[in-house]
């Protein structure tokens, strides 16, 4: 089993998440860049992903939206790819769309999301670096409902994967 994700704070505005996967990095890259794969894992249990549009090229846009199975509430992220260098580096500027959710992260300036993939002996290492516009945005991204509101029904997606496998 891969080691759990490691989180560090390289600076006041950054969060860095490092994780290994038992797969070649090309596959991990595909899972991050092909919409039909992205919607299978990226999200929150109890939430469907009705919108997953991605035009993966420099200057290309993307839009992700999730909908709660429980109450139909929606929220999402959208943005623009600024660096596309498969299968090693993907950078995008990400904006938060609060939709119907009553928690709000500071809007306006985007969060710069940088994914870097390396591979050794068939194991891919992913370094995901989030650079927020401000410390407030960084803290707000997790301090608000993001974690709390979505924790109530987390087991379902895992079940779906078990059923699909």
């Amino acid at each position: 089993m891969p080691k759990p994700a490691e989180v560090t704070l390289p600076s006041g505005r950054e969060v860095r998440v490092t994780r290994t996967f038992n797969a070649p990095r090309q596959l991990v890259w595909d899972a991050h860049t092909r919409p039909e794969l992205v919607r299978k894992w990226q999200g929150y249990d109890g939430w469907d992903m009705p919108v997953c549009d991605m035009d993966v090229r420099v200057g290309g846009k993307y839009k992700w939206q999730w909908r709660s199975r429980e109450d139909g509430k929606q929220f999402g992220f959208f943005g623009t790819f600024t660096e596309v260098n498969g299968p090693s580096k993907l950078v995008h500027e990400q904006y938060y769309d609060p939709g119907d959710m009553d928690f709000a992260m500071p809007a306006g300036d985007p969060c710069i999301v940088s994914l870097e993939l390396s591979e050794q002996n068939g194991v891919a290492t992913l370094v995901c670096n989030l650079t927020f516009a401000s410390k407030e945005a960084r803290d707000g991204a997790v301090a608000t409902g993001m974690a709390d509101g979505m924790e109530h029904s987390y087991t379902r997606l895992d079940d779906m994967f078990k059923a699909a496998a």
Binding site: V7, F21, V28, W41, A147
Partner: protein, 118 residues
Amino acid sequence: MQSSKRLDLTFAALADPTRRAILARLATGGATVTELAEPFEMSQPAISKHLKVLERAGLISMDVDAQRRPRKLEPKRLEEAVDWIERYREIFERNYLRLDALLEELQAKPSRRKRTKK
């Protein structure tokens, strides 16, 4: 104080290696400014400056009644910072566990990989 403001102070305080070393020293027991200045080869005013930052962040406190005025660790604030990181980690880890399952599935059945976009 707002919790995000408080976290800012905590993380800013933790960003400095000397201050982290001071916390590590205080984790073994209270110490005065003089006692803290010694191992770091720093002047007392320089150490006092660091202590002020740690105090403002709520990471340490001073026993004002005791004559030596020793500083002591306030573990609660440190735990809060660790919790915050842990929540970030959980959000990502939940996704990555699903990604693990997907990657396994893709490697087990390479022929079933869909090539066409929606």
